[in-house]
């Protein structure tokens, strides 16, 4: 069998995303000097549009944490936090963020400023509540707890929506006092129009992965789109970015090209990636010709592929609905089984890969049950490997490689038997 190679396509998407994200980081680093207020937010089911409409520059500690991990800078920060008393068993994202502060990398006069306000969009993850309590404590910024009820009935109730909308109004009042500018609902509507366009583009891009071969890897390459959709959503630039991305992917589909020289296996990937070893982890799959055609991680900020869009005609209600309903983190792990099942069926995947993350119990606690469901109930070949998204100490490459190799070998064998 010929060796599978990576097609160095990266193309415009990667570069374009990089440029947009760099511009945002740049803006952040100037915010303090320019006297612009900043607001820390979490990625999952966020209300970035509202901060934008309040003229507050959003900042995302999760993005800083993952960037430090990719640049292999996370371990010293984690160790700093552990020296200060954080447990080795707590989410390393938090530790890397607090470690950055302890290390002097965040705060007045630093490229990462202290947030003016800390808006904890408590959407699913309970660690968020702790993290932002700690961030508000070190930075002395005002903490706003935006409590979003977890989805525990078929649909969020009217009481849930009312509760979130009321808090959004209270956030607007706080935003006005911080920025000194009057909130304008029409401005929010315009921002939401851009948001909906970006959401549409992201969903279309994902749908293109139903093609054989998929034009991009919906796990490893989706990261290029996650910045624009989760961080820059609501800007014109983010909406235009997705126009470019979709056009590029459509071109690849027309040419029958995917990210690898050959697509031998189509997988659905569950769980965040090991950021400190992004590249090597990717290679372990690429050499088998395994391409992710869908992933759950790419939906932490929002599940757009089932059709939900922000609605400028119902601005606050639709923000509330998105926070409540249309993102992975605010839904139960068992609801995630249904999401994955749909991916496996509609995106015609051969297997499920579960990357179990020690840091993130939201994703991982109970994934053994998920494996049981997919293998025993549905007969979907399922691989489970364990490491971490931020802490390099939990990545055991040899062990992970062995498991991946054994899995795809048996999958290959199965394919051969089936085709015989």
């Amino acid at each position: 069998m010929t060796a599978v190679t990576e097609r160095q396509y990266q193309g415009q998407v990667h570069e374009h995303s990089r440029r947009l994200m760099a511009a945002w980081m740049d803006e952040l680093s100037r915010a303090e000097a320019e006297g612009r207020p900043t607001g820390a937010l979490m990625i999952s089911g966020n209300c970035v549009e509202l901060l934008r409409a309040c003229h507050i520059l959003p900042m995302f500690p999760e993005v800083t944490a993952l960037q430090n991990a990719i640049r292999k800078k996370s371990l010293p920060l984690i160790l700093k936090a552990e020296q200060a008393g954080y447990s080795s068993d707590n989410c390393a994202y938090v530790k890397a963020d607090i470690g950055l502060f302890l290390d002097g990398g965040m705060g007045p006069g630093k490229p990462i400023p202290f947030p003016t306000i800390t808006v904890c969009n408590y959407v699913g993850c309970n660690v968020y509540v702790k993290w932002f309590e700690h961030l508000a404590d070190v930075s002395g910024s005002k903490l706003f707890m935006l409590d979003v009820p977890f989805v525990r009935t078929a649909e969020p109730s009217a009481a849930d929506v009312r509760y979130v909308v009321s808090q959004l109004r209270e956030l607007i009042t706080l935003g006005e006092s911080v920025s000194g500018q009057k909130f304008d609902i029409d401005e929010l509507r315009e921002i939401l129009t851009h948001a909906a366009r970006a959401e549409d583009g992201y969903a279309r891009a994902k749908m293109l992965c139903k093609h054989h071969p998929a034009p991009f890897d919906a796990y490893f390459d989706a990261i290029n789109m996650m910045g624009p959709i989760n961080v820059l959503r609501g800007t014109r630039e983010a909406a235009e970015f997705f126009d470019v991305a979709v056009a590029e992917f459509e071109g690849l589909v027309a040419q029958g090209l995917g990210p690898l020289s050959e697509e031998r296996f189509r997988t659905v990937v569950e769980g965040p990636p090991p950021y400190p070893f992004y590249r090597s982890f990717r290679n372990l799959f690429a050499r088998w010709g395994a391409v992710a055609v869908a992933s759950t991680y790419s939906t932490v900020g929002g599940i757009w592929e089932w059709g939900f869009r922000h609605d400028p005609r119902r601005p606050l209600e639709s923000i509330a609905e998105q926070m409540l309903r249309e993102n992975l983190t605010n839904r139960s792990i068992v609801a995630r089984y249904a999401q994955i099942k749909r991916y496996v069926e509609e995106w015609e995947a051969d297997a499920l890969v579960i990357h179990s993350i020690k840091s993130c119990r939201l994703f991982s606690a109970g994934q053994g049950d998920m494996r049981d469901y997919f293998t025993q109930k549905l007969g979907v070949p399922t691989l489970m490997v364990e490491s971490d998204l931020e802490d390099p100490r939990y990545y055991a490459e040899a062990q992970i490689k062995n498991r991946i190799d054994a899995f795809f070998e048996s999958l290959e064998h199965r394919k051969l038997v089936q085709s015989a």
Binding site: V127, Y163, V334, A365
Partner: protein, 384 residues
């Protein structure tokens, strides 16, 4: 009954599988139902008002060998989550008709839906309790959430908690909690008259019997214990913090005292002692209970309170209980307790209050290392 008999009876009850406790009550109450609440806060009033027996669901402790649950939950997940699921697999909660979980942490949340998937015949509800402590909308939301639970009981069991019944149950549980507060106050005043193992055992037993029965026990204890013959010793007065969910083994609590401490405050079974005073207000009982959950709450690692610093409640406990130090006792892998440890420890250090960290697991059975650590700590403090 004498205090000794009550303590002995409590010991027996606590040692029994939850299913056995539930079955026995149901045998005495034909057609009755039981609903157990996972830590921390238990909506006991609501269960009681629907005519059911509220119980605490506290995992398997040392009694359950994991055979299925450890394939479902990874090694880095706390023990109580695994052993609770295992109780289901081993049939040890047969007789318990419903389970209620709430948003204390990501593990408990995932457990709730995984339990439901594996045991579709059991009624499982997940409550989202408010984390916003100051919004004008929080009372209305909390009341709606409690009404939702009441409606779910109605759908599942045909048993409803009417507003009148709920108001009555709030009174009953207020009475139980007032006595628990009094017992805690007694321990602060005379810790030699009531050991923590005893207090914990009785408290835990109170979560396994109808509240009216618990009230009877507590009345006896409050009347009799002050007369108990016991000699005060020279021990370190400590507050135990962090053991609000997974249950520390009794042996660990014993060791703590044997090694030279009086535990004068703790957060054991905190959810059953949630309100600092009787539930306030006059009107709709759902609203009263929901508002009290936020406004009359004890400080807890599982609820955000933006009106005070994370360490304030702990410092207040230390002062009120005239404690010398804090023993942090988080369960291994317990996210809320381990995160709070940092902010609380910093707060204590600012106030000059000494502290010690002792992690535990419910299935722990040797305590020698812990004994040494505590002894060293106590010595360093007492002979300073």
């Amino acid at each position: 009954m004498t205090p000794e008999q009550i303590i002995e009876r409590s010991r027996e009850l606590v040692a029994q599988p939850l299913g056995t406790v539930a079955e026995r009550w149901k045998a005495e109450h034909p057609g009755g139902r039981t609903v157990a609440a996972y830590p921390v806060w238990a909506p006991a009033e609501l269960i009681h008002a629907a005519g059911m027996l509220p119980l605490s669901l506290l995992g398997g402790g040392t009694s359950v060998e994991l055979t299925h649950a450890d394939a479902r939950f990874q090694s880095f997940v706390c023990s109580i989550a695994k052993s609770t699921l295992e109780l289901g697999f081993q049939g040890q909660v047969k007789g318990v008709d419903g389970l209620v979980f709430s948003n204390i942490c990501d593990v408990a949340r995932n457990l709730s839906s995984i339990y439901q998937r594996n045991f579709p015949g059991t009624f499982v509800e997940y409550l989202h309790l408010p984390q916003n402590s100051t919004s004008a909308a929080v009372g209305e939301y909390a009341a709606a959430e409690l009404r939702r639970l009441a409606a779910a009981f109605g759908d599942a069991f045909g048993l409803t908690a009417s507003p009148a019944a709920l108001a009555k149950s709030i009174e009953v549980y207020d009475a139980l909690r007032a006595r628990l507060r009094a017992l805690y106050a007694l321990r602060i005043a005379e810790p030699h008259k009531l050991s923590t193992v005893e207090l914990y055992t009785v408290l835990r037993a109170c979560t396994l019997v109808p509240p009216e029965e618990g009230i009877g026990w507590l009345d006896v204890l409050l009347a009799e214990l002050p007369r108990r013959a016991a000699r005060a010793r020279d021990r370190l007065r400590v507050v135990v913090e962090g053991a609000f969910c997974e249950q520390p083994p009794l042996g660990l609590l014993e060791v703590l005292e044997e090694a030279g401490c009086y535990v004068v405050e703790d957060d054991l079974l905190l959810g059953w002692r949630w309100f600092t005073t009787d539930v306030a207000g006059e009107g709709d009982p759902f609203e009263r209970l929901g508002t009290a959950y936020v406004n009359q709450a004890v400080p807890s690692s599982t609820r955000h309170e933006s009106r005070q610093h994370r360490s304030a409640g702990l410092i207040e406990k230390v002062r009120r209980a005239k404690a010398d130090a804090v023993v942090f006792m988080p369960a291994k892998f317990c996210e809320p307790a381990l995160f709070d440890y940092v902010l609380m420890k910093q707060g204590l250090e600012r106030e000059g209050i000494p502290h010690l960290l002792v992690e535990f697991e419910e299935k722990m059975w040797t305590f020698e290392r812990t004994r040494n650590e505590i002894e060293t700590f106590v010595e360093s403090m007492l002979f300073d």
